[in-house]
């Protein structure tokens, strides 16, 4: 295949990387004053990359001799990633302006991270997988310690970097084992080798690769970094971590397990089931004692990843479709919750993060309180809110392959999680009012909160036909 044709298939990444280089030049010459303009430029680039998915880049097939795959699965994941990244770009300048950390590099790092995430979800070769993952992670480490004068932010960056490097090492070891024992790095070749029996070396490779990827989606037992990093990183960056890279890593994990390791489903299913159970239980139990809202949302994301893994454990087309639907709803819920957290500011404009400061919010800021409550109910998966639907799909897929005992345990664990979500709603609605937050500054943020609240409200059910069809098409691309 000629290079031009391959390049056409990778158009979204091409737009993002070339665009980020141009914006980098703008940042270098115009300085931090131009941050707002650069942010909007970056949002426009994400929009352009999303539009490019309509063309051959959305479903054109394999490029660069099987290193890269443009199919409906990757386009679905990329669309989610671009939307989530664009929202974190829009809200960031206001946040950094308030604490005097405006740097023009923020949007550029998010863009380059977006290139990495695009590579991850389109990877059909272990090499693409690794380089994409590193590109995304390296940008993320820098973003975590973006407020370098803040000790918590610096700590978050360092912790994330050290543990992330460890995970990359584990992943790379697994990749080298797979390469050594199957003789190829292409998913197709790995799948063919797995098809005729799983040797000891291949088994070790599979375990190490899954362990490395479990770190990136922060599934238990590789979740230790999540609460600290989420708490320490600046809030827009935390919102980014909890959404876009998670979608990318989860999509990557799905593609690796289904496409490359499809022949060894029984081997990886045990690992995925363990991680799913451990994540939902620990994500539910450990969150109960938290007093910091960002830490709590970190445990909430661990908990949600567990449910997504339940869908993957089914290992069927329905399971993968449930994973994709879950990710879409998860992004809306999480972005919405973090946008609400961004509104938590005291009179002097400094961010507050304690759950206690939310008490009685319904009397001081009724609209924000209502949105917060919607997100919490939705994260808890309580019908009729839209957060219930993907949970239902996941367990439906599990029952579909006869794993109903697991589905029952999963439903039981979701009750544990519901406790702390409801505790926040109780704090907001029934406790005595704490000092009021500073009034909302940006209409845009309010609009985004309203939009995501509408999506996860019962109105979201209207989106089921479209979302279901898109998820199903995405899942079909893998089988």
């Amino acid at each position: 295949m000629p290079v031009t044709q391959s390049l056409a298939l990778t158009l979204p990444e091409l737009i993002l990387s070339l665009g980020s280089l141009v914006l980098l030049m703008v940042a270098a010459f115009a300085g931090d004053k131009a941050t707002k303009a650069i942010s909007w430029g970056a949002v426009a680039l994400f929009a352009a990359a999303a539009l490019a998915l309509l063309g051959p880049a959305g479903h054109g097939g394999s490029a660069f001799d099987g290193l890269y795959q443009a199919d409906s699965f990757s386009s679905f994941a990329k669309l989610l990633i671009y939307i989530a990244a664009a929202i974190t770009l829009i809200v960031a300048p206001n946040f950094f302006e308030r604490n005097g950390n405006v740097r023009a590099e923020y949007p550029i790092l998010i863009l380059l991270s977006g290139v990495g995430m695009g590579m991850m979800v389109s990877a059909t070769d272990l090499l693409t997988l690794y380089v994409g993952l590193e590109l995304q992670s390296l940008a993320a480490y820098v973003l975590a310690s973006f407020m370098r004068r803040d000790t918590r932010s610096a700590e978050a960056g360092l912790k994330y970097f050290v543990l992330g490097a460890l995970a990359s090492g584990i992943l790379l070891y697994g990749i080298s084992l797979l390469y050594g024992f199957t003789g190829t790095t292409a998913f197709e070749g790995v799948a063919a080798a797995f098809g005729d029996g799983l040797g000891m070396g291949e088994m070790f490779g599979l375990v190490f690769v899954l362990a490395g990827l479990a770190f990136k989606i922060s599934a238990v037992p590789f979740h230790m970094w999540t609460p600290d990093v989420y708490e320490g990183a600046p809030t827009p960056v935390t919102a980014f971590f909890a959404t876009a890279p998670k979608v990318a890593a989860m999509a990557l994990l799905t593609r690796v397990t289904i496409e490359a390791m499809g022949g060894a489903t029984d081997a990886w299913r045990q690992i995925v089931i363990f991680a799913a159970l451990a994540s939902t239980i620990l994500g539910g139990v450990a969150a109960i004692g938290q007093t910091n809202i960002k830490r709590l949302l970190a445990y909430s994301s661990i908990n949600n990843v567990g449910f997504v893994l339940f869908g993957l454990a089914a290992g069927t087309q329905d399971g993968v479709a449930a994973v994709m639907t879950y990710l879409a709803v998860y992004v809306a819920m999480t972005v919405g919750s973090f946008l609400c957290v961004l509104q938590m500011r005291d009179e002097s404009g400094q961010p507050v993060e304690t759950i206690a400061s939310l008490s009685g919010l319904s009397r001081t800021r009724p609209a924000l309180a209502a949105a917060f409550a919607i997100f919490m109910f939705s994260l808890a998966g309580i019908p009729p809110l839209f957060g219930f639907w993907p949970k239902f799909l996941v367990f439906d897929a599990l029952v579909g392959v006869g794993m109903w005992p697991l589905a029952m345990i999963g439903i039981a664990t979701s009750v544990i999680g519901a406790f702390y979500y409801l505790k926040i709603v109780k704090t907001i609605y029934f406790d005595d009012p704490a000092p009021a937050f500073a009034p909302a500054e940006s209409k845009l943020e309010g609009g985004l909160i309203a939009l995501s609240a509408l999506f996860v409200s019962p109105l979201g059910y209207l989106a089921i036909p479209a979302l279901g069809a898109a998820s199903m098409a995405a899942a079909r691309a893998l089988f």
Binding site: V3, S6, T10, S17, L24, A63, F64, D65, L67, Y68, R103, E105, I108, L109, L112, V115, G116, M119, L127, T128, V131, G132, E134, L135, L138, A139, Y141, V142, S145, F146, R148, G157, G180, F181, T182, G183, T184, G189, A193, G199, G201
Partner: protein, 203 residues
């Protein structure tokens, strides 16, 4: 014959300079012995036909890593006498690590004797007559072009990251302003004075 002599020469030099790296009193000497060890290891790699790895050893380890070590040793004021004071305390740990390494060597030899692992599926092994630098060159800019470019982006991110995290605009410095200097004309800077005798100069 000549290969055997070369092998023993390089191998002995690697081991000897390795020992001297550990035992040298002066840390700068340690680093220099380490560089010698790297060079000899590169020689061994050439002997087994891995020229590319040999070149990497010289360029990366000698050219970058060892020089970095040397800079760190020379620039940081580390009290090596104090570091050495802990030798007796950590000796048991060191011995333990040594035993683990020894056990690994024994296991590796045993596994070697048991025969090779079945890796018969190795895809497209390079033909024996193609040197491995050439073999790498034929795929890295063609088949793996995409990965190669992405690796470039990873390096760019690393560079941006280093600047974001460490660079700060320092106030109160007086950097050279070339444009101002070039713009300045002689009449702005030089003044001719007919200085009367017996009076002070007025500046």
């Amino acid at each position: 014959m000549i290969q055997t002599i070369a092998f023993y020469l390089f191998a002995i030099m690697v081991i000897a300079s390795g020992v001297l790296t550990v035992t040298a009193r002066n840390p700068v000497h340690s680093v220099l012995w380490l560089i010698l060890a790297f060079f000899n290891a590169a020689g061994l790699m050439v002997l087994v036909g891995a020229e590319f790895i040999a070149m990497l050893l010289v360029i990366v380890y000698v050219g970058a890593v060892a020089v970095l070590f040397l800079f760190v040793v020379m620039m940081l004021n580390i009290d090596f006498a104090e570091l050495r004071a802990g030798v007796a305390r950590y000796a048991p740990l060191g011995v333990l690590l040594g035993l683990v390494l020894l056990a690994e060597i024994v296991f590796a030899t045993a596994a070697w004797n048991a025969g090779a692992i079945d890796m018969a599926r190795a895809a497209a092994p390079i033909p024996a007559e193609v040197p491995n630098i050439e073999a790498l060159g034929t795929v890295i800019y063609t088949r793996y072009l995409y990965i190669f470019e992405a690796a470039g982006l990873v390096l760019l991110v690393a560079m941006i990251g280093a600047i974001v995290l460490t660079h700060r605009a320092r106030g109160g410095t007086r950097p050279q302003n070339v444009a101002d200097q070039v713009k300045r004309r002689p009449e702005d800077a030089v003044r001719n004075v007919n200085q009367p005798i017996g009076q002070g100069v007025e500046l």
